[in-house]
């Protein structure tokens, strides 16, 4: 197995992307929150919000630095591990990949300016304006990269003539059918993950007995974000399911262990599969639900896996990842809903310890949810790298040294993964909120 470049390339791609995506998601998700915090701070002349914006930005900068590093690695690694894939996609889908670099550029320039100009403008609103290009830039990079990933699932915009790619239409390829549902889901789930991480830090501090109103404001701002974006994510997650039913039915069928094409299809949660009998044991069955999820109607016919030759079936274990994402998504939406109710209905205490504890674990949980969503998407595309055109096994490098390289990268990610939280904690504990607030008041 170690000698097989295909398996090793898949593992290395998986490890690199799984690491990068954490930083990338937070890189997309956090800017809108420091931008909003700064705006509120300026409008209400509230030093708490200004400090909040500053501290969130500081953490964000360190995450972005490592995100840039891992992103550069992926960008090159795709060519190193999947030369045939990049050769083919270079012909058809390089437009968004190319535009993504402009989005990075734009973001990088303004982040550089934003970070070092907190006190340089008389009118603070000018400084706030600088945060907008950061939000646009990071959202833009998600926009373009998601387009590439969508293309891998529904390749379009070219013809194949004797192995040559002809009649290339870059915009058709870029705005392929998978793109709308995928981009909206990726974007809102990134905002959601960002919000939950920020909320979970604030909740953790409150649990530790820090009662300064600063933390309450931080928690509240982040929780409103959680509420808004968890609803949005559940809604466009539903669209993603409907997209699959029409365009990638084998992925949805594998995720649902749905073998026979039938109408009034039932939904299965959890369970253990007996692959020979195609029967599920110990699962929870919800009648009609799959038809409703797929086509919004209980009578709709949902295509089953048996319509496809078995060698084209995606791995059936994506069922668990899909289940995990959906249940965790419901849980996250529920938590933020409860918080909002408790906050606005005076009879309840929004800061009760059990709720804070639930919020505190929701941050890491949202990361896991996002990861399992990606695993479901990427593994569910197997055996294709470009669905219908190029198989993973045909696209990998022929080099024999992938395993050794993988060891090197794993050591690197391991080191970064350990150092990153240590550095972050140190940055924030060096200057406590309370002392920073005291200092800041002098200036204001």
């Amino acid at each position: 197995m170690i000698e097989d470049p295909v398996i090793m390339s898949r593992w290395l791609t998986f490890i690199t992307l799984a690491f990068h995506i954490i930083l990338a998601t937070l890189g997309v998700g956090i800017p809108i929150f420091f931008s909003i915090a700064e705006y509120i701070g300026i409008k209400r002349k509230d030093p708490h919000y200004l400090l909040l914006a500053k501290r969130w930005t500081r953490g964000y900068t360190i995450l972005v630095a490592v995100g840039v590093v891992t992103g550069t690695i992926i960008g090159l690694q795709l060519s190193l591990l999947w030369p045939s894939f990049m050769n083919a996609s270079g012909h058809v889908i390089s437009l968004p990949l190319f535009m993504e670099t402009f989005a990075f550029f734009f973001e990088a320039v303004f982040l550089g300016i934003y970070l070092y100009t907190w006190d340089r403008f008389k009118n603070r609103i000018y400084h706030w304006l600088l945060s907008i290009p950061i939000v646009i830039g990071s959202t833009g990079s998600a926009f373009f990269i998601t387009s590439v990933n969508a293309f891998m699932n529904t390749p379009l915009g070219f013809d194949v003539d004797n192995g040559e790619l002809t009649n290339v239409q870059p915009l058709v390829a870029m705005f392929n059918p998978a793109f709308p549902s995928k981009f909206s889901h990726v974007l809102t789930s990134a905002y959601l993950t960002g919000a939950f991480i920020l909320a979970s830090i604030a909740a953790f501090q409150l649990l530790r007995g820090r009662t300064h109103v600063y933390y309450k404001k931080a928690l509240h701002l982040a929780m409103i974000g959680c509420f808004v974006f968890s609803i949005a994510t559940v809604i466009n997650g539903d669209f993603s399911g409907k997209f699959l039913a029409s365009y990638q039915p084998e992925k949805l069928a594998a995720a649902e262990w749905h073998f026979e094409t039938e109408d009034r299809a039932k939904l299965v949660l959890g369970g253990i599969l007996d692959p020979d009998e195609q029967e599920v044991k110990y699962g929870i069955e919800i009648p009609l639900a799959l038809s409703i999820i797929a086509f919004n109607s209980p009578d709709a016919e949902v295509i089953g896996l048996n319509e496809f030759p078995e060698e084209l079936w995606p791995p059936l274990m994506i069922h668990y990842f899909f289940n995990f994402m959906v249940s965790a998504g419901m849980f996250l939406a529920g938590i933020s809903f409860i918080y909002i109710i408790f906050y606005y209905v005076n009879r309840f205490n929004a800061l009760s310890p059990w709720l804070l504890r639930a919020i505190a674990i929701s941050g890491p949980l949202s990361i896991l949810t996002m990861e399992s969503g990606w695993i479901m998407t990427e593994v569910g595309r197997q055996p294709w790298i470009l669905r219908g055109f190029l198989k993973v096994s045909e696209a990998a490098t022929t080099s024999e040294h992938v395993f050794e390289m993988m060891v090197v990268y794993v050591v690197l990610y391991f080191t970064l993964g350990i150092l990153l939280p240590i550095i972050l904690i140190r940055v924030f504990s060096k200057k406590s909120v309370e002392t920073e607030l005291e200092k800041q008041q002098v200036i204001l």
Partner: protein, 339 residues
């Protein structure tokens, strides 16, 4: 037409990366040097004030180059991608160490000599490892049998040409960044730093020009076709030499350090574009040419339009960055507050 626009744009970006990354890499090294020799209060502050706002921008130049290369000339992904797994990984690991440890050292809570050490040293190894891609493009280091592409490591490690390129890369980095920091220190009104960086510029000027010359000599044996093409436009390389002499004499006389740095840029521009121009039409000698391996016209035009639109966004923002930091005397002197 598309192939020419494509390669020109990419080469300009690579040139941009060469200059700003050299400043950045060299500055990291000098910063480490200053720390070790306890010159902390002179040049380190100057360097930090320059580096802090621009480090991320530097990296994007590189990303832009390789993403653009795959866009305009997709077959490069196949050939270079297959051949470069091991050296590419080395370069990536170095870049990764440098990027993250910069952030850890700079935004992290305390000064850490080990981080600075990694940061300073990787700055010299990265240009060395990246420059081998240019070496490989000269041909003779890759075997292509059937569809199977392999890098001939043995050849690479024993070739005089390849070692000269590595040495030139390192000395140029130290030279370019010293000449820039001479200017920046003067601008910031920091006499000690200015003197020190002036000394470094002069020290590294000799080796830089020596290795540039040796490149010609070794290339002649390695790829005579390219060597002859270079001889045909030797005037370009003479201009490069003249710019070099002007720059060094200005810095020696402590006059007009800004102009001197511009001449250093000219020196490398002449050499780099002369080299690139004569390298054409090959992207990888003799397997890939810009004519045969260019992308389809539809994609080419889309990329060019995206590029133009991107520039309209970027040039004003880069201008803003430069105005606020690099060309702002108060900022350079450290009089403006930062966070």
């Amino acid at each position: 037409m598309i192939e020419y626009i494509g390669i020109t744009v990419l080469w300009i970006f690579l040139y941009g990366y060469l200059i700003i990354a050299s400043i950045d890499f060299g500055a990291g090294f000098y910063s480490f040097y200053a720390k070790m020799t306890d010159k902390k209060h002179t040049i380190r502050q100057v360097i930090d004030r320059y580096l802090s706002p621009v480090w991320e921008v530097t990296n994007v130049f590189l990303v832009f180059f390789f993403v653009g290369l795959i866009g305009f000339f997709p077959a490069t992904a196949y050939y270079y991608g297959t051949a470069l797994l091991v050296p590419g990984t080395v370069a990536l690991i170095l870049l990764a160490i440098r990027g993250s440890f910069y952030a850890f050292a700079n935004y992290g809570a305390r000064e850490n000599n080990f981080y600075l050490f990694l940061y300073g040293l990787t700055g010299l190894f990265i240009p060395a490892s990246l420059s081998t891609v240019l070496t490989i493009s000269e041909g003779g280091f890759i075997s292509v049998e059937g569809g199977d592409v392999k890098l001939l490591m043995g050849e690479l490690f024993t070739s005089p040409y390849s070692w000269t390129v590595v040495l030139l890369a390192i000395t140029s980095v130290l030279f370019i960044s010293a000449s820039f920091l001479t200017f920046y220190a003067k601008r910031a009104g920091d006499r000690d730093a200015h003197e020190l960086m002036r000394k470094f510029t002069l020290i590294w000027s000799g080796p830089t020009i020596l290795f540039s010359f040796l490149i010609f000599v070794t290339l002649r044996n390695h790829n005579a076709e390219h060597f002859n093409a270079m001889l045909e436009i030797r005037w370009i390389f003479l201009f490069s030499l003249l710019s070099f002499l002007t720059a060094v004499s200005l810095i020696y006389k402590r006059k007009r350090t800004g102009i001197a740095f511009i001449f250093v840029c000219f020196q490398f521009a002449f050499a780099f574009f002369g080299y690139g121009y004569t390298h054409l039409p090959y992207l990888l000698y003799p397997h890939l040419t810009i004519y045969e391996n260019v992308t389809s016209p539809e994609m080419g035009i889309a990329l060019i339009m995206a590029f133009i639109a991107g520039l309209m966004l970027l040039i004003p923002s880069l201008f803003l960055l430069l105005r606020l930091f690099i060309f702002n005397v108060e900022y350079a002197r450290g009089e403006k507050k930062t966070y």
